[in-house]
Symmetry: C2
Subunit: 161 residues, 2 copies
């Protein structure tokens, strides 16, 4: 088990969408900018989240992503496991078929228990809990950035200084 960058991005994405509210359409580029996620990478992540039924994707002009479920009904575990697969802590737990003695193995049982405990912890946390607090996004409420793809002019850069 390893929390990949993609999984961290997914969590940030869902937090951002949770703040927007269930059913509120938000463009990929807005999410990418605000949650500091590479835009193309976010596209892949959103596809996984959509397959899992967590978000809905709207194509075409003025398209984007929106949350399909209530933030209170989405657990941290769901989002994480959507990205990295079911959590396991070692290969033996992941591939019991390959471990002939896993049923009788004390080490195996320890890892199994630890894994169950970890999953339970993450299952208890839902995204309505995560939006109410200051969380892993650069700022909240969101700040206004320059339009995407437009290089800041000298004057606007000066404005920021």
């Amino acid at each position: 088990m390893r929390l990949t960058r993609a999984a961290e991005y997914a969590v940030r994405c869902v937090i951002y969408l949770s703040r927007q509210g269930q059913g509120v359409l938000t463009s990929r580029h807005e999410i990418a900018r605000q949650a500091d996620i590479p835009a193309h990478f976010l596209a892949k992540i959103a596809q996984d989240l959509a397959k899992a039924g967590l978000v809905e994707i709207r194509q075409g002009a003025r398209g984007g992503f929106l949350l399909s479920k209530n933030p209170a009904a989405i657990s941290l575990l769901e989002v994480v496991e959507t990205m990295i697969g079911e959590i396991h802590l070692n290969d033996c737990v992941a591939r019991p078929a390959g471990c002939k003695i896993s049923d009788h193995c004390a080490v195996h049982r320890v890892w199994l228990d630890a894994r169950d405990q970890l999953r339970a912890s993450l299952r208890q946390v839902s995204f309505d809990q995560l939006v109410t607090d200051t969380s892993c996004l650069p700022s909240y409420p969101k700040i206004l950035l320059e339009p995407e793809g437009l290089e800041a002019t000298a004057s606007t850069r000066n404005d920021l200084q």
Copy 2:
């Protein structure tokens, strides 16, 4: 956090040495054969275990490894973290300095709690508990194998059939 192959090997190695008993010298090749660990790989692993004070390495002819501590005094957490470093579940937890808002981040706290719980679980398990049960070694009590480097003759092979 990810349990690497090296960490699994280390656990098996320490289990094997725990069965031998604290202070009982065992050659690297015997451990490698019995616990099914690549011998050269085991050398590196043992170096890490020695640095951590878990095993002692005897060089020279009739050298090998031996357990420096009582199996009851060695936790699964010790061995695992010796091999993979202190357990963390994501980068944010591992590098709080790089996360400006980690103190106030709800997600961060969740991971931190989960990590503490996981570490506590592994800390509770000591190797005296692991040797008493059938565990992640091919067989126990150990079987007699041919001397290392010597191909089994047809007759010895037949003896095993």
